[in-house]
Amino acid sequence: MDSVPSTDRGGIGYLPSAAETLMKLVVTGPFGVGKTTLIRTLSEIETLHTEEAMTQAGEGLDDTAGLPEKTTTTVAVDFGRLTVQDDLVLYMFGTPGQERFLPLWEDIARGALGALVMVDTRRLEDSFAVMDMVEEQGLPYAVAVNRFPDAPAHPDEVLRKHLDLDPATPLVQCDARERRGSIDALIALAEHALTRLPAPQEAS
């Protein structure tokens, strides 16, 4: 991979100076479920990624002084950006749903509006662990069922039952390659996040 020369001003996609408010959400789910595809569909900049070095550590995490046999591995986090209004920009981070990556996940999810948990109907159970993880963190989430052509189609109600979804949790079926449905998934998440925020302080 070659680095981006500093003279390349074309492809970078600098932030407009009006972009004052930056929000973020997390797109998560099992391997190959379509996280990157959804982000690519929505992003106004070419999808970017960072490599985060991960250290395997045991129980004594606080004992940072001596990690005897730490092994390091690298996890790619990809992300994209969507200007929603002139001054409001939404960042979407695609993070692996594995429980082992929880600390990285938490680091990225801190301050996020919520999470979009992606599901493949051919392997619903692969998303269970991710949903547990998101629920444990108390992050508002919506489920986006990514429709693959060769995957069986099911009515929402059947999927909700199999996923054991709370009635309040939104479920959206989409094709991550299509913009409209992907935006609908974001809208469902944002609407849900809104219901989780304290009501406006009207006269009591």
Binding site: Y14, E20, L22, A53, Q56, Y91, E99, L113, P198
Partner: protein, 117 residues
């Protein structure tokens, strides 16, 4: 790329805390970095030059800088922190700061998303 099964993996920077912690809280990955007018000294390092060069034409978040420079976010945070301290960059905390999402913000987000339909 895919690590084998096993114990939970920790981002390296969270374990080590990096080198001696720079003053002040770590920059958020969505902190916005801007170049100032201050010129880099002749002795400035390659990575410092690359980051300042990247930001010469415009502003980017920390995580975007990391991606363009192909550096880990943690390394970019350290570089940027030093360059802010030396006056070569300015950093603007993300708005809202973590945990400060309120209804009016989400309502504006919704209006914007619906208009993108």
């Amino acid at each position: 790329m895919t690590p084998g099964p096993g114990r939970r993996l920790i981002p390296a920077y969270l374990v080590t805390g990096g080198r001696s912690t720079p003053s002040g809280p770590a920059l958020d990955r969505l902190a916005v970095l801007l170049r100032t007018d201050a010129e880099l000294p002749p002795g400035a390092g390659t990575e410092q030059r690359r980051l300042c060069g990247l930001l010469d034409p415009g502003a980017l978040t920390v995580v975007e800088c990391a991606a363009h420079l192909e550096l880990p976010v943690s390394a970019t945070v350290f570089l940027a922190t030093d360059l802010v301290a030396s006056g070569h960059l300015r950093a603007r905390p993300p708005i809202p700061r973590a945990g400060e999402i309120d209804r009016s913000l989400v309502e504006r987000l919704l209006v914007g998303l619906r208009s993108l339909h």
